[in-house]
């Protein structure tokens, strides 16, 4: 179980998150939705420990693997295996632990043919697969995913969806952000809607999504002239 309570975050005088308070139970899959700039990434960064809140506290129970920006931590001049080791070390594992998993990771990512190639020659989809595969194989208790599934072909989307389901079966916790409403409806136990730094709605996926659609509609009805 992880809980986050009452914090505000000021960056460059912008109030990125205001008075967020939430509790996430073990095994829950939480989808976070909201318009761009609403604070989703900031929220994930705080939960993963990348940012420290200006006030409030954060309690995490279990090992957490963040998938925040795809391919960061990857060194372009190195090949897949070397990058898996780097990535795994950053996620908190020892070199030996990761080395044992390298083959599984490459196989899951379907990169057997490319594993000796330098990362700079990888497409965005290949990077996503590699990062995702590494994070999943390392088997954390909590997985944080920030919109990385936007990049990647249909095959990868299918594969990652299946991986998420497997993850859920093992009673692991997932917190993810996406603009893909279908995924939100299919995968999430609960959905959080963030708007301008505040949790506007939290609850059943269908309820929150309809509320979100209302918000989007209200933005579209303002008569901005394009030309």
């Amino acid at each position: 179980m992880s809980s986050v309570s009452h914090y505000t975050n000021n960056s460059n005088q912008i109030l990125a998150l205001d008075n967020i308070s939430l509790t996430i139970e073990k095994g829950e899959t939480i989808g976070v939705i909201g318009l761009n700039g609403s604070g989703k990434t900031t929220l994930l960064r705080i939960i993963s420990g990348v940012y420290q809140p200006d006030s409030g506290s954060l309690l995490i129970n279990g090992h957490l693997a963040p998938l925040l920006q795809i391919g960061t931590g990857f060194k372009e001049e190195l090949d897949a295996e070397e990058n898996i080791i780097l990535y795994g070390l950053l996620l908190g594992f020892t070199k030996n632990e990761i080395k044992k998993k390298i083959d599984d990771i490459i196989r899951f990512a379907e990169l057997e043919k490319f594993h000796k190639l330098k990362l700079k020659n990888y497409s965005a989809g290949m990077r996503s697969r590699l990062a995702f595969s590494t994070a999943i194989q390392i088997n954390p208790d909590i997985l944080l995913v920030d919109e990385i599934l936007a990049v990647g072909d249909a095959v990868f989307k299918e594969k990652s969806f299946k991986a998420f389901l497997e993850f859920k079966k093992q009673n692991k916790t997932i917190v993810y952000t996406t603009h893909n409403i279908n995924m939100i409806l299919d995968l999430s136990d609960r959905v959080i809607l963030i708007d301008q730094g505040r949790i506007v709605k939290i609850g059943k996926p269908s309820d929150v999504v309809s509320y979100y659609n209302e918000i989007i509609k209200s933005h579209n009805t303002t008569n901005d002239k394009i030309f």
Partner: protein, 259 residues
Amino acid sequence: MIKFPLVELFDKRSLILHFSWMNIKLRFKGSYLGLIWTGLEPLLMFLILFVVFSSIREVPEENFGIYLITGVLFYHMFSRGTSTGLVSLKENSSILKSFKIKKELFPVIATVTTCILLFVEIGVLFSLMPVFEFTPGWNIVFLPVLLMLFLILVLGISYILSVLYVYVKDIQPFWTIFVYALLFVSPIFWYTSEVDGILLNIQQINPFGQLVEMAHKIIVFNENPSLLEWISTTIIIFGILFVGFIMFKKLESKIVEQL
């Protein structure tokens, strides 16, 4: 609460060593001369200084060549080590933004990288000895201790510079000029016996200069620096490490947002 830093560092030794080694590997990837450049840079600097100063004046002591190369090597490593440490947080901003990782690891990784390069430089030193028909005395066994102190000095300074650099970019040009000044106020191409007045005063409080002078004694003159010298230098260097680390911890919380 700050856990005792050494314990944390030991836990993360796998990551530190691997990242340092990768830094070395990446630095020289694609270049033909590769690691040799680490030795070539100070060597060229040494040659220029050697030729110029040998012809400008009467060299009072013998072994000026070894004296000079010792100073130049330490200077080169100090310059490289501190400038790498300075950018260590900025350069890894994408990692810091995506993973929960202890920020103080990055100056440490930079210093371990410097440590590895230090071995290359010491290799250069020893390979030049036959050229100058020089054999070191037994006092050279103290060299590893001196190198340890040197690395601790670099680390302490890296803690200070790296965290300040995130907030104040001007630190970088300022430090460049400061290091440039060190070339002249440290006994690299002059002897402490030759100078008095302000240069001597600066030397008393310049920990880098103190280390260089101790290196001269150990390597060139085959003397053991006095106990007072060892103690005072050690205290100053650990003092800098302590202050640097505390400063780092105090300022670190908003680093990631600033990057």
